[in-house]
Structures are given as structure tokens and as C-alpha cells.
């Protein structure tokens, strides 16, 4: 499911809303989460999960193509920890891994 499919679903379930408003609702939600993480805050959505950032120390990396060493400065990376309820929903019936959809491309 993509963001546009999410918007389409929301629009379908709420016929009284105008399409631009539905788009604004969805973008506001992800923008607020992004802004909170950029401030160093954490976002906790009970039942769904929590977004936070994790600090990464500076390190010496290597350009895999040229073999050159490069200094990688300290940075923060976003992290999502799924909530208990969502973890359980994803796992229900996990003992029968009947996957009818073709394996998704992992990247």
C-alpha cells in the first residue's frame, strides 16, 4: 500500500471530505512525526508503535567502489519499534506461512 492508496481509502471512507483535505490530513500526520523526530522528540502511538531516533557515533568508512577511506560524522537515525498490539496482529496465524503473494523485492 502506498501513501496515495492510503489517501484513496481515507477519501472513500469519508465522502464528506474534499480530496485536498484528505491529502492534507495524511501529510500532516507524517510531517508531524518527522518534525518531532527532527527536534529529537519521540513519538509514541500506543498499539501501533513508537518512533524515536538513535545516535550513531562517527566512524571511518570506506567507499566500496574506490576503496578510499572517508570519515563518516556522527548522526542520528530514525527507528520504529512496533507496538505490542500490532506485533501480535502481524503474527497471528504465523505458524502457517501460506504466502500467496509473490515474495516482495527486498531492498
Amino acid at each position: 500500500m502506498t501513501k496515495s492508496e492510503l489517501i484513496a481509502h481515507l477519501a472513500g471512507a469519508n465522502p464528506h471530505l474534499r480530496q485536498p483535505d484528505v491529502e492534507l490530513i495524511v501529510s500532516t500526520i507524517f510531517e508531524e512525526i518527522t518534525a518531532a523526530l527532527a527536534r529529537g522528540d519521540r513519538v509514541e502511538l500506543r498499539g501501533f508503535g513508537a518512533f524515536s531516533t538513535k545516535a550513531r557515533d562517527p566512524r571511518t568508512g570506506r567507499n566500496p567502489r574506490t576503496g578510499e577511506t572517508v570519515e563518516v560524522s556522527a548522526k542520528s537515525v530514525p527507528y520504529f519499534k512496533p507496538g505490542k498490539e500490532l506485533r501480535e496482529r502481524i503474527n497471528k496465524g504465523a505458524t502457517s506461512p501460506a504466502r500467496r503473494a509473490p515474495a516482495r523485492a527486498t531492498a
Binding site: I29, F30, I33, D41, A101
Partner: protein, 102 residues
């Protein structure tokens, strides 16, 4: 460090869209529920400029109780992983977002 919850996200929707607070909260819930349902169905959820949530199947492996040392099988299960987009990573580090990336 502050913690942002549903209340603040719903408030932002309320402030930006001009719906009632109740309806803003309900719409936020619909969004989270729709995403959860897709993930529950094993579907990946791709939010451009934010990231991708995807369900991965893990095979059975032998685990060990770290306290007792007893070996226990860890059954096959599904786990949810989140891959942040380049845009989100750049925003968090207050770096310019490179052109041509999601």
C-alpha cells in the same frame, strides 16, 4: 526529550485542516488502523518521503534462555521492520534533502 502522542498529532490535523477535534482524532485512528490492517495482511506500506513498513518472515531457529542456558526452539514468525526514506534521514540530521530522492 518530549514524547509526542496521538493527542498532538490529532491537534496538528485539527489546526491544519479545520475539522473538529473529534473528527481529527478519528481520522488519525483510521490512518493507523488502515496501515495496521495492510501490514496484518502481509502487505508493505510505502509512505513516500517518510519510509516503508514491511513484514518479514523469520524462519525457525534455536534460541537459548540466557538465564538457564536451556535451548528452546524459536518458532517461525513475522516481524515488522521500518526502512526510513532518505528524506526522513536527512530531515533528522538537518541536512538538505538531495534532489531526485523520493
Amino acid at each position: 526529550m518530549n514524547t509526542v502522542t496521538r493527542a498532538q498529532l490529532a491537534e496538528a490535523v485539527y489546526a491544519n485542516v479545520g475539522l473538529s477535534r473529534n473528527e481529527s482524532a478519528a481520522l488519525l485512528e483510521t490512518v493507523l488502523e488502515r496501515m495496521s490492517a495492510a501490514l496484518e495482511a502481509g502487505e508493505a506500506v510505502k509512505i513516500s518521503a517518510f519510509g516503508t513498513f514491511l513484514v518479514r518472515q523469520k524462519g525457525q531457529r534455536i534460541g537459548r534462555n540466557p538465564k538457564t542456558g536451556v535451548e528452546v526452539p524459536i518458532l517461525p514468525r513475522k516481524v515488522l521492520s521500518f526502512r526510513p526514506s532518505q528524506v526522513l534521514k536527512a530531515r533528522i540530521n538537518h541536512e538538505p534533502v538531495e534532489a531526485g530522492e523520493e
